[in-house]
Amino acid sequence: MTLSVSDVKRIADLAYIEINDNEVKETLNQLSGIFDLIETMQAVDTSTVEPMSHAQSVVQRLREDEVTEADQHGLYQSIAPQVEADLYLVPQVIE
């Protein structure tokens, strides 16, 4: 698979990462290297192998439906950049 400069810019956009034109080229090379590696791996015949969703063959442990967390919002908000009326404040976002 060959990546283009516009692919890299699109991915950066989706990931909310700012990259300048010099970095685009370097990133393109790095990402292409990763795709080459994937291509090599895809040469292995896996048609008879069941896909796995996790690297370990163990199953999810479940917890009982109980409230175990106490309110500590004062503590958590002490490290927030800006708080008002118990709300975390962020730069305005309106879709």
Binding site: Q60, V67, Y76, I94
Partner: protein, 479 residues
Amino acid sequence: MQWEIVIGLEVHAQLSTQSKIFSGASTAYGSPPNTQACVIDLALPGVLPVLNKGAVERAIKFGLSVGAKINSPSIFARKNYFYPDLPKGYQISQFELPVVQGGNIQIQADGEEKNIRLTRAHLEEDAGKSLHEDFHGMSGIDLNRAGTPLLEIVSEPDMRSSAEAVVYAKTLHALVRWIGICDGNMQEGSFRCDANVSVRPYGTEKLGTRCEIKNLNSFRFLEKAIDYEARRQIEILEDGGIIRQETRLYDASKDETRTMRTKEDANDYRYFPDPDLLPLEISANWIDQVQSVLPELPQARRDRYMSEFALSAYDASVLTSSRETADYFESTIKQLPAQVKLCANWIMGEINGQLNKEGLEITACPVTPSQLAALLERISDDTISGKAAKAVFESMWNGELEKNVDAIIAAKGLKQISDDSAIEKLVDQVLAANEQQVADYRNGKEKAFNSLVGQIMKATQGKANPAQVNTILKKKLEG
């Protein structure tokens, strides 16, 4: 051209657990901001999600109640997008292998039974809330809702009108409440609908380009938004235009939908299995356990009421509109098994009417099933007339005389006169005082009969048994 509207619904039902889907924080509604957002909900570094058994159990319950396949293993995936009320930068949801696969819901549309196929139902976490006002150009974030368990129930595009979509949504709403997995409170956002709407020339198979309408938090808005959106699409197509696939928002104040985002700038969610969560295994044993505590479902009860009690489809539907209503009905008839129809009529009429008037749920009904049965028993044994029963009911509703039926009847002097000799005596008196009308009746004036009945009822303040009065009066006039 004739157009056909094609609708599929995605419903987010908030599951009625005590704690969140991946953390031990409370899910209670309406608490002060951020008092129920713990380190996991805030996505602080180093935390790990642990799945809530209660959320999985509710999803299994739903799957079994719609005849779906329960997937095991079932996989959790990350759905990636950026928004400040989603602190992790991804929502934990399901993509491949949702807990519930397939299933069917029967709806009653236009007097006919219709099957709506379900695609899937998957578990996911809710996001927080953004408040955009009053923070000097900043947005306020409340993460109490972040991590609340949701079951997203996705239907196939099987509905053909807004009315059908509303019936489906209402049926689903009743079902999730019936099986006790969601409180269904739409004002609090516990049950939210998104509608996928497209149109196609009538008689064709190929689906048109669809638009997704978000933000539908009432059945009325659902209906209006679909109607508006279908009209909009038909107008564009009839003018020779094409429909763009996009997400639209319904604005209730203007009764219109408008573009929220188009397909081109839609998020690429980059789903992938969440490495923090292992595959979920649901054993056959667990499924059997859930099945064994599943209540009799609304559809089954409705059918049973029709076959066992010979009630009409309409009556059976009203009585099974909620599990509480159906339970109330069954408790009542348990005490008065010979008067099923009378019980049904009173619950659908007086009880529902009073509840609606006072905005009460049947669980808060001041007249209990056994009190209602005691009252109706007095109608069926001819102690009081139906009309007098309504007066007694009103007294019971208001808590008079400890809601004791016989005490109220006695206090109000409502006991019906059912003694033949007493009624005969009254009839004789009235006949003697109304010779003219007696003569009129005998000369063929049928109307005179009703007038005489009226006089007798008036003389007894409405307490004479009307059926007996009719019989005795007829006998005397013709005898």
